[in-house]
Symmetry: C3
Subunit: 356 residues, 3 copies
């Protein structure tokens, strides 16, 4: 691998990504070979906001490789997080651990942390910004269950607007040939313009749908997401629409026999419990693939070359990122770097557009 | 073992129970033989309510067998527990761990969880309902300290009414021959009628006492429990009575030289600190026996056949359990099953009687 | 080692201390030799108040020796800590673990706990009283970075009055020959009289300074500490003075090329971020030395003879320690012991003077 950190899945070449996916499959097939792969190594899981599922997945991955774990999961009793800069915490933990997994609500914090870490750092979610190991999990699942990542008709259903997971998955799958996307959503929750640009540039065919019922028969993959009530203007509107995007036994009856259904979990009620027993429901298997994905990632990171990230971008004199949730706002020593994109300046950490 | 879960100690045959007790003694005598018994295995401790002592006992047991642990202990930051059904959490964790230990304040939740778990599940307490590993601890202690589980005069002192631990211990010991029970309590806190039925059916002699001082000389075993102030109608009544059930040096002087004193801990002030140095005080040793009991249980579970529990009972059309703390009330997908007992219908999950 | 507990660094002979420091250096140089030194051993980290950094350092140390860890870090969900005496918790955990590390806000609690522990106990901080492994960390760092613990001019800067770390370091370094101390502080925050007695008795030269700028050129070691605003009478006074004790690039330019800068961390703003890249800044390395110091300590404790501490002192009839934060006030069964010092009686647990 060229990079030894995983901040953004987009930083990894398709070849490296394919290698991680292959390694995950190999581990799933022969777990005993990897039982001591990380013997004597320590992973720190620094969770500045709790996410028990993600943390348990990473911890299990490390333990199944024979490694050990330290860390915290509770911002309120993590004294390490109080009155101390992110840099200092990362520098200290770098001296304890061989690899750091960090989840932090501040956008861009993972890239900032990687600048100061002396060991590989994995982004387990930096606010609403990036969550690359969820996408890696999705890819490992798709590859194992469908045999490849190509030539699929992929339905994405629910909230296309706000889901970082959905955006990252579309970005990655649009690089594989023959994929076609059906975006099943209400107009209010459709994919934002910059994501439509991504699709257009990729050349992948895509279409819109407002009905899961009408579209399900075409799909090879159905990726369900949560629809959150607060996204709607009125409670009535939410109530009226949410039923459209509930996957139930009746809708499953319309689907192909080799459809697979994914969901990043936790689900609320967008998939009824009766669907769980359908062999095409793969969302619990997906969580288990996530463990193998993370095992493959940890091995890849620990065998890579470790040196600090140098973020892409340059200082624009006097300009600061305007996103109040950006790490450059809360950690004063982080340089204010921007890169160019389509003639505009974009923050190197949180990827927000700089307003003129 | 016929079952691969431990939900209720009553589900385990006497032969299987004796085997676990023997294994615990063997581990205590030769711990080094078992150092790697669970190498490569992972236990998840899912504590929906904190119980540091029980969790530490299970964790130590697994670690001393060479296994590893994941899990959570704090309901407030367990995102896995938020907005997600018990079923989904159990299905996901089943994909990570080789054995699940769950403590949950909802009655019947352990049996419900075992229906969806793909790995063995151990009940570490489901509300006020069951806590089988405490009773297993008591049995391992008694067997080791007294040489067998038969022919003992057992005094149980304190709260006979509310203690699930005491009820479970009486149920189990009444199956062994030659045991005699002395129930030392105030009338308000005496054993409930259904427990007296259990004793009558077993044929074990039993008697009531309201004085620890008068009864202690007869005992081979004294099992002390906490008396909780809130059980009394007035503070005066509590104050007047609590002294009766304090075990102190003076009362110990009246007891047999081979008496053993047990207590499930934590104690408040029902045993004075001066008793701790008496060699007959075995409550700290009991906590250590609990670790060996859990080591034996884990080995037994991991070597058993794993398939999901099918609860005993059937749906009665339209009827739901009326216990507001029952798992069938909070987890909508759990079937409303009832079994027959003495012509009455009883909830298969929380064992509450169904009112007509 | 004569003692198998570490409650107060002053209890360890200089010879034993030197041996631990040598062992730490050996581990740092050859970590792989020690990978399985504690295989099969369990450390309990009982943190009655959170201190993520200290806990992670101990946990990493144990894991890097091949041992395992149990424990708690959150007083609010540590049921073991609720309604249970310290003695009972320690007795129970003694049955689970091979070594106990305890942090507890109650002064003298570590010594009290060691009276009841059946395994070695390490004090990881007992209120404002003692924190011996921080001082051990400082000594291991100094010894490695300066080659010995002798013949140094040591500047201590910031809060000399309240810092238990600073007092303990001075006490220990004053036993090594050729050391000279420069105490850099405001008059309000200077070293208290009993510490000046220690220095006088040791025969080490010492001087006072109110300016870091003026004194820095003389130093071989600069030990920075936090200055806390609440120590000052007014906000203005704090604002006016705090700049004096900020170490920055300009002040570093005045210092010797072989100065080393230490800080117990976390820092707030008493060292500017720009100093971090100066090769003389050793505070992050110091945190890593702390891990090796704890590894050496754990090995030493586990290979020592384990029997309970008998505190030095005797009961003075009817007299109780007057310090409201003393363990003898909250744990009623702890004996009220006092030792003589300069004709005065001093509490054996919290070292407070008994008022006549």
């Amino acid at each position: 691998m060229q990079t030894h950190n995983l901040i953004d899945l987009g930083d990894i070449s398709k070849a490296d990504l394919d290698e991680i996916i292959r390694l995950a499959a190999m581990i799933k097939a022969n777990p005993s070979i990897f039982t001591d792969a990380c013997h004597g190594k320590i992973m720190a899981t620094l969770f500045y906001e709790p996410s028990t599922r993600t943390q348990m997945s990473f911890q299990t991955a490390m333990l199944r490789l024979g490694g050990q774990i330290i860390g915290f999961d509770n911002p309120s009793n993590a004294s390490v997080a109080k009155g101390e800069s992110l840099k200092d915490t990362i520098r200290v933990v770098s001296g304890y651990a061989d690899v750091i997994v960090m989840r932090n609500p501040v956008e861009g914090s993972a890239l900032a942390a990687s600048m100061y870490s002396e060991v590989p750092l994995i982004n387990a979610g930096d606010g609403g910004h990036l969550h690359p190991t969820q996408t890696l999990t999705d890819l490992v699942t798709l590859s194992a269950e469908k045999g490849s990542l190509e030539n699929m008709t992929i339905g994405l259903c629910g909230d296309m607007k706000n889901g970082r997971t959905v955006h990252s998955l579309i970005k990655t799958l649009s690089k594989y040939k023959g994929n076609k996307f059906i975006l099943i959503s209400t107009p209010e929750l459709q994919l934002p313009p910059y994501m439509l640009d991504v699709l257009r540039e990729s050349g992948c065919p895509y279409s819109f749908s407002d009905s899961l019922e009408k579209s399900i028969a075409e799909l090879d993959v159905l990726y369900m997401t949560r629809i959150q009530q607060e996204r709607f203007r009125t409670a009535e509107e939410y109530e009226a629409q949410k039923g459209i995007y509930v996957l139930d036994k009746a809708k499953m009856a319309l689907a192909k026999p080799d459809l697979i259904v994914l969901h990043p979990l936790p689900r609320v009620d967008e998939i009824t419990v009766e669907v769980d027993d359908d062999p095409r429901a793969k969302y619990f298997a997906q969580a288990e693939y996530g463990m193998y994905a993370r095992m493959a990632l940890i091995i890849t990171m620990l065998t890579g070359k470790a040196d600090q990230d140098v973020p892409n971008g340059k200082v624009l004199d006097g300009r600061c990122c305007q996103n109040p949730r950006c790490v450059t706002r809360s950690e004063g020593y982080v340089p204010h770097l921007f890169y160019e994109k389509g003639g505009r300046s974009v923050c190197s950490f949180c990827d927000s557009l700089l307003e003129e």
